[in-house]
């Protein structure tokens, strides 16, 4: 990667064009990008628009401009501001789907292992690890103040004395803190097959190579058991 005098990476126009072409060739593109009259309904109804400099109208307009430069400007931060709630798609009077365009662009960023994708997906590596190791998404021991600051000021208290608190839950639990439920090895193997077929492992490899190595060891263990 080349950098200019301000330390900003220089991306060749040809590469930006390639990214745009990849988005345009997506099988969903024609369905998601139709006529747009800049009415602003999508942005008016967009939840993140209230908090960030993010506008689904701009996403769609940039896409319709067919200008690789404009599309490239969204790849770094812009596409990650979307909540993927698809309110825009629901309310667009012309049946455009700006949220869908975001999904296409995000998938490109993930497939190609862009820095922005790595950064955004970093907090999920623990979830992915838990999922591939135990078939659970979240378990009590994952509640730690460092990882869930958005859970509020009580997260520190909530993460202490987990075994005791777990026992206090008035419904059957496994009485452990590293699992929410038990998953049979057969189910895990099926999950790995699905991950293989859907290209999930490939994606993990491109966004988090060290996590991929750990996960591969676990997968091999389960598969050979």
């Amino acid at each position: 990667m080349e950098y200019d005098e301000n330390g900003v990476s220089i991306v060749p126009f040809e590469f930006k064009k390639e990214i745009f072409e990849e988005a345009r060739k997506d099988f969903r593109y024609e369905e998601y990008v139709r006529g747009c009259l800049n009415c602003g309904v999508c942005t008016g109804g967009c939840p993140p628009h209230r908090f960030f400099d993010f506008s689904p109208r701009i996403v769609l307009q940039n896409m319709k401009s067919k200008d690789p430069e404009l599309i490239w400007t969204m790849m770094d931060e812009y596409i990650w501001a979307c909540f993927q709630c698809f309110t825009c798609a629901m309310i667009c009077p012309f049946l455009n789907n700006p949220g869908g365009v975001i999904a296409i662009l995000r998938e490109i960023a993930v497939r190609r292992g862009f820095e922005s994708a790595k950064k955004v997906l970093k907090p999920y590596s623990r979830v992915l690890l838990k999922l591939t190791a135990y078939g659970n998404q979240l378990s009590p021991d994952m509640i730690q103040p460092d990882f869930f600051p958005d859970w509020g000021p009580h997260i520190g208290y909530a993460s202490t004395d987990l075994p005791t608190k777990r026992k206090a839950i008035p419904m059957p639990t496994l009485q452990v803190t590293n699992l929410a439920w038990d998953v049979a090895p057969e189910t895990m193997k099926e999950l790995y097959d699905i991950f293989d077929e859907a290209g999930v492992f490939k994606i993990i490899e491109s966004v988090d190579p060290s996590l991929y190595e750990i996960i591969q060891d676990i997968v091999d263990d389960v598969r050979s058991s």
């Binding site: 009415c39 602003g40 309904v41 008016g44 109804g45 628009h49 209230r50 309310i91 009077p93 012309f94």
Partner: protein, 347 residues
């Protein structure tokens, strides 16, 4: 023997056709589904008509008087065409009226069954019928006609009012991709009327495009320059309830302010026009073609706009698409000519 021509629909177009044909000495039968003539303008008590703000009664009232007093016109009120058969180049038509059924042979037929106002309740984001202070342009027109334009919720004069354009038009979600042509001008007209009625009331118009085509544009400039109507580019995404009995319009000002949430005392939805249930009904009964928008389809939109696909059946007014009253009256005359020529040729 004089020609017999059937006119279906007693709105502006139908009345114009009927009176012109009657003046030529034709025996006209005019079938009207309501118990009165005048169509939607009469039904919803339109008060003043754009572009020159003349009283609707000068136009619609005058047409009604001319139609009702012409001895060559037989008006069937609260009636419908119950049976329609081709008979050579003529038509055997049964008219069902409160006085029973009557079958007559007509030389030609004019369909002028008009339009229906889009029902904004069909588009949930506007909360029409949920909040009393969310009304539409036909409601406001009726309120002007009845002389009371205060807020429906509490009877107080509104301090600010929003007009929202393109309700039920240019919207694929509700199935109407077309522009209804007149709602922009009606809204601008009503904005001016509101500003004149309540000089302290702020009036906003939220638009995607303002289509005050042709000379109607004069009214648009007048609204901006003489009446200080605020015109904001951005379609409203949602209407919710606000503090102090207000309704909040939420959307994006795409040119200036970005996202907005403004509480209003009253919101007026510029609901558009639809072919209504009468268009497919006519298509079925008379064997006419419907277009993809739910209106009756002319044989050739440029060359033969008043001819239907069926020889001897002619179309006039808003049954072929959204139209201003002046256009409907023009078409009523033009279709009358077509229908008369057909009747004369096949005498």
């Amino acid at each position: 023997m004089a020609e017999n021509i059937l006119v279906i629909g007693g709105g502006p177009a139908g009345m114009q056709s009927a009176t012109l044909l009657a003046d030529l000495g034709v025996n006209v039968s005019l079938v009207e589904r309501d118990s009165y003539l005048g169509g939607n303008p009469k039904k919803f008590k339109y008060k003043f008509l754009f572009p020159d703000m003349q009283p609707a009664d000068n136009v619609i009232g005058e047409l009604i008087r001319k139609t009702e007093t012409n001895s060559n016109i037989k008006i069937y009120y609260s009636s419908e065409v119950s049976d329609f058969k081709e008979n050579g180049k003529k038509f055997d038509v049964t008219i069902k009226s409160p006085n029973g059924n009557e079958t007559k042979t007509f030389d030609s037929v004019i369909v002028a069954t008009g339009f229906e106002h889009f029902d904004p309740a069909r588009d949930a984001k506007y909360s029409y019928q949920l909040f009393d202070d969310v009304i539409d342009i036909k409601d406001l027109e009726r309120m002007f006609g009845e002389g009371n334009v205060n807020r429906p919720s509490n009877g107080q004069p509104p301090k600010n009012v929003a007009f929202i354009l393109c309700v039920g038009s240019r919207d694929r979600h509700v199935g109407n991709q077309y522009c209804s042509r007149v709602c922009c001008t009606v809204s601008v007209k009503q904005a001016i009327e509101l500003r004149e009625h309540f000089p302290d009331c702020e009036v906003y118009i939220f638009y995607m495009d303002i289509r005050t085509y042709g000379f109607f544009e004069d009214l648009y400039w007048e609204a901006m320059e003489e009446h200080d109507v605020q015109i904001v580019k951005g379609r409203v995404a949602e209407i919710t309830s606000g503090p102090n009995n207000t309704v909040i319009c939420k959307g994006e000002d795409t040119l200036l302010r970005g996202p907005f949430e403004i509480p209003f005392d009253m919101v007026v939805l510029a609901s558009g026009m639809e072919g209504g249930p009468q268009s497919p009904e006519m298509a079925k009964k008379l064997g006419l073609e419907l277009d993809e928008h739910g209106f009756l389809k002319p044989q050739n939109v440029t060359l033969a706009p008043f001819k239907s696909n069926k020889k001897g059946v002619f179309l006039a007014g808003a049954c072929t698409g959204p139209k201003a009253i002046s256009d409907s009256i023009t078409e009523g005359g033009a279709a009358a000519m077509d229908a008369y020529v057909y009747a004369m040729k096949n005498k």
